[in-house]
C-alpha cells in the first residue's frame, strides 16, 4: 500500500514553468470551465439575448418613429446603442458568477491550490469576452432582420466589435469589484445593474444627446458609454471619428487601471475572513 502511494506521488510532480506562464495558463483553464457551461445552461444565453432583442423591437417600432436622427435611418442609429447597452449589461454576469463561486466555496478551493491567484478573476473576464462576442453576433443578425444596414468596410465593423469587447472587459472588472464588495449573490445582481441604467439611458444609445436639457447633456456627452457608442456608430456607418475612438479607448484603459487592482484588493480582503 505504502509503496504504491509513494509511486503515485512521484508521478504527480507539478510542471515547472515561470510564474507568468501560469498566470495565463490557469486563467485559460478557468475560462474553459465557464465556456463549456454555456451550452449546458442555454437559458442563460437566451435571457442575455432576449432583453436586447426586446429593446431593439421597442425602439425600432414603438419609440423610434418619434425620435429624429440626422444623416441615417433610426435603426442604423439605434444598433450601435443596442450593442453598447448589451455588452455593458452583459458585464454584470461577471460579477454574478464570481458571487456564486464565493458563495459555493469554489473560490476557497481555488485558493488552496498552487495556481495563479489572479486567474479566478481573469479567467472569468476572458470567458465573458467570448460570450459577449456570441451575443453581439446574435444582435447583429436581429438588427439586420429589422432593417439595420451597416456601411463602410468589414475591417471597420471588426474594429467596432473589438472596441465593444474591450469596453465589456473594462466594465467586467467594475462588476467584479462590486460583486466582491457585497455579501450575497442577490446583492451582487442588483448592485451590479442599478447604476448601469442612468449610464446607458443618459447616453447617446437611443436618442441624440442634442435633445437633452443642458445639464444632462453635459453629463451624457462626456461619459464613457456615449463615447463608446459614438465611436462604434461612426465605425458602423462609415463615419469613423478618431477623437471618440481615442477617448473611449482612454476611458476603458483608465477604468482597467483603476478597477483591476481594486478588484484584486477587494478579492484578497474578502477571502481573508
Amino acid at each position: 500500500m505504502q509503496s504504491s502511494y509513494i509511486e503515485t506521488a512521484e508521478r504527480l510532480t507539478p510542471q515547472a514553468r515561470p510564474a507568468f506562464y501560469w498566470t495565463i495558463a490557469d486563467a485559460l483553464v478557468l475560462a474553459k470551465r465557464h465556456l463549456i457551461q454555456i451550452p449546458r445552461i442555454p437559458e442563460e444565453l437566451i435571457f442575455a439575448t432576449i432583453q436586447p432583442v426586446m429593446f431593439v423591437l421597442l425602439f425600432r417600432y414603438v419609440f423610434g418613429g418619434a425620435i429624429a436622427v440626422s444623416g441615417t435611418t433610426y435603426v442604423n442609429y439605434l444598433m450601435a446603442g443596442i450593442f453598447g447597452q448589451t455588452v455593458i449589461f452583459g458585464s454584470t454576469s461577471t460579477g454574478i458568477g464570481l458571487a456564486f463561486d464565493l458563495q459555493k466555496g469554489l473560490v476557497d478551493r481555488f485558493r488552496s491550490l498552487p495556481m495563479a491567484k489572479s486567474a479566478v478573476l481573469t479567467g472569468r473576464t476572458i470567458s465573458d469576452i467570448v460570450r459577449n462576442t456570441v451575443v453581439i453576433l446574435v444582435m447583429w443578425i436581429v438588427g439586420v432582420l429589422v432593417g439595420f444596414r451597416p456601411e463602410g468596410s468589414v475591417l471597420a465593423w471588426i474594429a467596432a466589435i473589438g472596441l465593444l469587447l474591450f469596453t465589456s472587459f473594462a466594465f467586467s472588472w467594475i462588476a467584479a469589484t462590486i460583486a466582491l464588495s457585497v455579501r450575497t449573490v442577490e446583492a451582487a445582481q442588483s448592485a451590479g445593474f442599478i447604476w448601469l441604467f442612468p449610464l446607458t439611458f443618459a447616453s447617446s444609445a437611443f436618442v441624440p444627446t442634442s435633445s437633452m436639457p443642458d445639464w444632462l447633456r453635459a453629463f451624457a456627452e462626456h461619459q464613457p458609454v456615449t463615447l463608446v457608442i459614438n465611436a462604434v456608430r461612426g465605425l458602423l456607418l462609415n463615419q469613423p471619428d478618431a477623437s471618440t475612438i481615442w477617448q473611449s479607448l482612454a476611458w476603458c484603459a483608465g477604468l482597467l487601471v483603476i478597477f483591476i487592482p481594486l478588484a484584486v484588493w477587494v478579492y484578497s480582503r474578502r477571502i481573508s475572513r
Partner: protein
C-alpha cells in the same frame, strides 16, 4: 517513522472584528494518524483549518504542515495538502471528470496526467460511471466523494477534512468513513473536524476538543472518557423484582455512589474495570435470584466528555435522543 509531526500549531490567534475566533490554539498530529478536532459550531474549528490550509493568516502564533511554515512557505505547501468538506467545493455544471481534470491542471499537472489522474480517482471513488454526468445530478454522498477526490489529486501527505460528513445520510457517512480509513492506512495524515462525537470516536487516533478558540482537552477517545469518569454498570430488574437484593449483590463492585431509581427499578453503579468483573457480577446477581430486564456496561460517550468539560452540550440536540429511543425499543422488543 519521522520525529516531526505532520501538523503542528502553536498559540494560534485570530480575530474577526470583536470575535476572538482562535485564542491560542495548539494542535499536533503525528504522521500517518488522524487528528479529530471536535467542537460545537463557532468553536473555531473551521478558522483553524483555514489557517492550516493557507487560506487565512493567523494574527499571532506559528503553524507548520508537512514541515512547511503555513505563512512563509504557503505556496510550496499548497501542492502538498488537500482540503475537502464544508468549505471546499466542485462545479455543479461540469461533469465529475471535468472537475477533476480542471483541478489537476490547476495543480499544474500536464493535461495528459490530469486526465489520467481524473480517471484513476473516479475509479477509486466509485464514480467511474457518474463521472460523465454533470455534478448537479449527483447525490449528496457522490458529491462529497468527488469533493474528496479533488482534494486527493496530488496524493497529498496531509489532508484536511472540514466536517466531511455533515449533511450526509447514514449510508453516505459510513461510505465516507471507509474511504477516510483507507486513506489513513495508505499513510496519509488527516485532520478531521467534526461535530459528530461518534465520528471522532470511530476515526481519530487523537482528539482535540475545541471550545471558544482553544483546546480544552486532548487525548485518545479512551483517555478523554477516562478523564471524565470511568464506566457505569446500568441494570434494570424485572417488574416486582427485589431491588435491594440487586443492590447488595453489586455493592462490592461499586467504586462510588450508586444511583438508585426505585420507580424505574434501575441501578447505576460506578465501576472500575467493569468488563473484567462482568462475569462475576452476573453470577452474583444470579445467585441472589435477581431477574434482570436489562444489564449494560456503559462507557461515557464523547457527549458526556463534552458536557463535563465545557458545561454545555456539543450540539443542541444531536443524534443522542434518537439513539436513546432506538435502544429503548430494542429493549422492549427483546
Amino acid at each position: 517513522m519521522s520525529n516531526k509531526p505532520a501538523i503542528l500549531a502553536e498559540g494560534l490567534h485570530k480575530h474577526f472584528g470583536k470575535t476572538h475566533a482562535l485564542a491560542g490554539l495548539d494542535l499536533v498530529a503525528e504522521e500517518g494518524t488522524v487528528l479529530g478536532v471536535l467542537g460545537p459550531n463557532g468553536a473555531g474549528k473551521t478558522t483553524a483549518v483555514r489557517i492550516l490550509t493557507t487560506l487565512l493568516k493567523p494574527d499571532a502564533g506559528y503553524a507548520e504542515v508537512a514541515g512547511l511554515d503555513v505563512v512563509k512557505q504557503a505556496d510550496l505547501l499548497r501542492a502538498r495538502i488537500g482540503l475537502a468538506g464544508q468549505y471546499a467545493a466542485v462545479d455543479d455544471n461540469l461533469t465529475g471528470y471535468e472537475n477533476l481534470k480542471m483541478f489537476g491542471q490547476l495543480y499544474h499537472l500536464s493535461s495528459a496526467r490530469a486526465r489520467q489522474r481524473a480517471n484513476e480517482l473516479l475509479e477509486r471513488f466509485d464514480l467511474a460511471e457518474a463521472g460523465r454526468r454533470v455534478v448537479k445530478t449527483y447525490s449528496g454522498g457522490m458529491r462529497r466523494r468527488l469533493d474528496l477526490a479533488a482534494s486527493l489529486i496530488m496524493a497529498p501527505p496531509v489532508l484536511f477534512l472540514d466536517e466531511p460528513t455533515t449533511g450526509l445520510d447514514p449510508r453516505g457517512r459510513l461510505a465516507m468513513w471507509d474511504v477516510i480509513s483507507s486513506l489513513v492506512s495508505d499513510g496519509t495524515t488527516v485532520l478531521l473536524t467534526t461535530q459528530y462525537l461518534e465520528e471522532a470516536d470511530q476515526l481519530a487516533h487523537q482528539i482535540a476538543v475545541v471550545d471558544r478558540g482553544r483546546v480544552i482537552a486532548n487525548g485518545t477517545a479512551d483517555e478523554l472518557k477516562t478523564q471524565v469518569g470511568g464506566e457505569r454498570l446500568e441494570l434494570t430488574i424485572v417488574p416486582g423484582g427485589d431491588l435491594n437484593a440487586a443492590l447488595q449483590a453489586v455493592q462490592v463492585y461499586s467504586s462510588g455512589e450508586i444511583q438508585i431509581s426505585a420507580e424505574h427499578r434501575h441501578l447505576s453503579v460506578p465501576v472500575t474495570q467493569g468488563a473484567q468483573h462482568l462475569a462475576a457480577i452476573v453470577r452474583d446477581l444470579d445467585a441472589a435470584h435477581v431477574r434482570l430486564d436489562d444489564l449494560a456496561l456503559r462507557r461515557p460517550t464523547l457527549d458526556d466528555v463534552f458536557l463535563t468539560l465545557t458545561g454545555h452540550a456539543a450540539t443542541d440536540e444531536e443524534a443522542s435522543p434518537e439513539e436513546v429511543t432506538i435502544s429503548k425499543s430494542l429493549v422492549r422488543s427483546a
